[in-house]
């Protein structure tokens, strides 16, 4: 088992990294980042929690079916690509919209962003699925 010191710092890291991963995901279109990088950040912090608290312990309160995550991601990504067909365009035709939102001012909505979210979930789901399965097996 790891020490109390590590656990405490990890507790601080978890929200920080998750938020950072979301920020990377959302910033991806204009800055370094994107679905993959954000996703791997997320994975790394969950992996950290597995390492520090032990997979078995984490599983007692946080045990999602990671397969569904990557299933969802892949579904989302492909449906995003398919959605262009609804508008009479080719598969994967992207759309860019500028929307005014009360709080945030002008927001750029890109269909590719939705695709990136799909990537995000696939990365998280697949890697953590591997980690969890192998981790379970190692026990």
């Amino acid at each position: 088992m790891t020490t109390i010191i590590t656990k405490t710092i990890t507790k601080i890291c978890i929200p920080l990294v998750i938020l950072f991963s979301i920020s990377l995901l959302l910033a991806g279109h204009n800055n370094p980042g994107g679905g993959f990088i954000g996703g791997v950040m997320f994975v790394s912090v969950i992996a950290l929690s597995y390492v520090v608290f032990g997979l078995r312990h984490i599983k007692t309160f946080f045990n999602p079916d990671w397969a569904k995550w990557f299933g969802f991601g892949l579904t989302l990504a492909s449906l995003t690509a398919f959605s262009a067909m609804l508008f009479g365009h080719n598969f994967f035709r992207s759309a860019v919209e500028f929307v005014h939102l009360p709080l945030f001012g002008e927001i750029e909505l890109v269909s590719a962003g939705l695709f990136d979210i799909g990537v995000y979930f696939v990365v998280i789901g697949s890697l953590l699925f591997i980690f969890k399965n192998v981790g379970d097996d190692n026990e």
Binding site: N30, N31, P32, F36, S126, L127, I130, V134
Partner: protein, 140 residues
Amino acid sequence: MNNFLLTLTISILFGIGTFLILRRDMIKVIIGLSVLSHAVNLLIVSAGVFENGKVPIITGSGHGGEVTGTIYNDNLAEGILAPIVSAGSHVEFVDPLVQALVLTAIVISLATTAFILILAYRIYEEYGTTDIRELRRLWG
């Protein structure tokens, strides 16, 4: 980056990777494959055709609609094989395409490495060794 030196480095990495994949220890072989995939990623980046530019991220809206005069449509009848750029045109950024390709390659090699590592772990379970020479139940 100096092209010659980079190429030389990449080649040496290929050499080291090759030496490693010819080892007998399964894990070493996998490490060798990782070295090779590093080498190949660098190779792809070095295949980028614009050098000494900036990070390929547009700051401000500099490129948002400028007309550069570049022809992007092919016209086979007139022998136009796009893109056709005006002579001496300068590109501000390093080549973004190779970076995108490497991203894909990296991710794929991660997935493959994960799989092969777990495979190695299962093989050890079945064979009780990581000596690749012992992996010879299938022959003849």
